[in-house]
Chain length 141, copies 2
DNA sequence: CTACGTGCAAAGGCTTTGCGTGGGA
DNA sequence: TCCCACGCAAAGCCTTTGCACGTAG
């Protein structure tokens, strides 16, 4: 769990504390390796340690975002989802509007074209978001 | 105002009513030609006709979406924005994270590449979203 | 005349925070 | 010991809806 160490390092640096709750939450979050929302992670955590409260899960996720170990995503429009950040990796998403499955992909060519568009508009891109919504292999017939 | 006629046609077809409120709201919405949220449109409307309530603005926007005359967008993450749909036109967005300016663009090549990615994943794309966040010409130095 | 539309206020749904208590360092 | 962190409950923020009254057709 390299990333868990990164998190603990971050905490120490900031004078924050390593607690039982944070350990468990972060472990589960990193392991699950999906795009979870607070609710979902909260339920996973509850199963392992029923003491832990919703706000702790929430605050830990926010902390992960600050530490640059998690990214905040807004797919469905209303709900906030989080995903672990693996170093040097950027990807976009295919989202099934029937079953909710999320498939990740990466395409250098598209990114280059984006840069081109930006340049043409005298715009400096900091980050981007590309999502394709439709039906996955299982849901289209 | 071709689109206003389209809206009224839609209303008649569905047995819905053309009201003073709807006329004004839709006119302002189409004219403003920006990416407004309910709040913003509501304020514009208020200036012209202070009687009109927030829910009427809200419901009229929903109606426009149903009529396929407006598209719902979620940029900032939490707020819902609406933009008029011009026929046969698809575009994506450059969003300035400093001043909030939104610039539209269109790029066929990118769309083709998206289809390619989808095919490779046995995925059928229904719609997509591409947003580039960064600094616009005025905000970067 | 009837069903749809309107404004108001309140209910929802999720995110965020204040507070008193508990626990790392 | 001293802050930081925790759980709980409540506050915020938008979005959405129920209701009683008004009005287009």
């Amino acid at each position: 769990m390299k990333r868990l160490n990164d998190f603990e390092k971050y905490l120490s640096q900031k004078g924050l504390k390593i607690t039982r709750e944070r350990e468990k939450i972060v472990q589960l979050f990193l392991k699950s390796d999906k795009h979870l929302n607070v609710e979902e992670l909260y339920h996973k955590v509850k199963k392992i340690d029923p003491q832990i409260g919703y706000s702790t899960v929430y605050r830990t996720l926010r902390l992960l975002v600050k530490a640059n170990l998690a990214a905040e995503r807004h797919f469905g429009d209303r709900e906030t989802r989080f995903e672990p950040i693996r170093k040097n990796e950027h990807h976009d998403h295919l989202i099934c509007i029937k079953c909710g499955r999320i498939i990740e992909f990466e395409n250098k060519k598209i990114e280059e074209l984006q840069e081109e568009v930006a340049k043409r508009n005298d715009f400096e891109v900091v980050r981007h978001r590309l999502e394709l919504y439709g039906y996955c292999s299982r849901c289209k017939r």
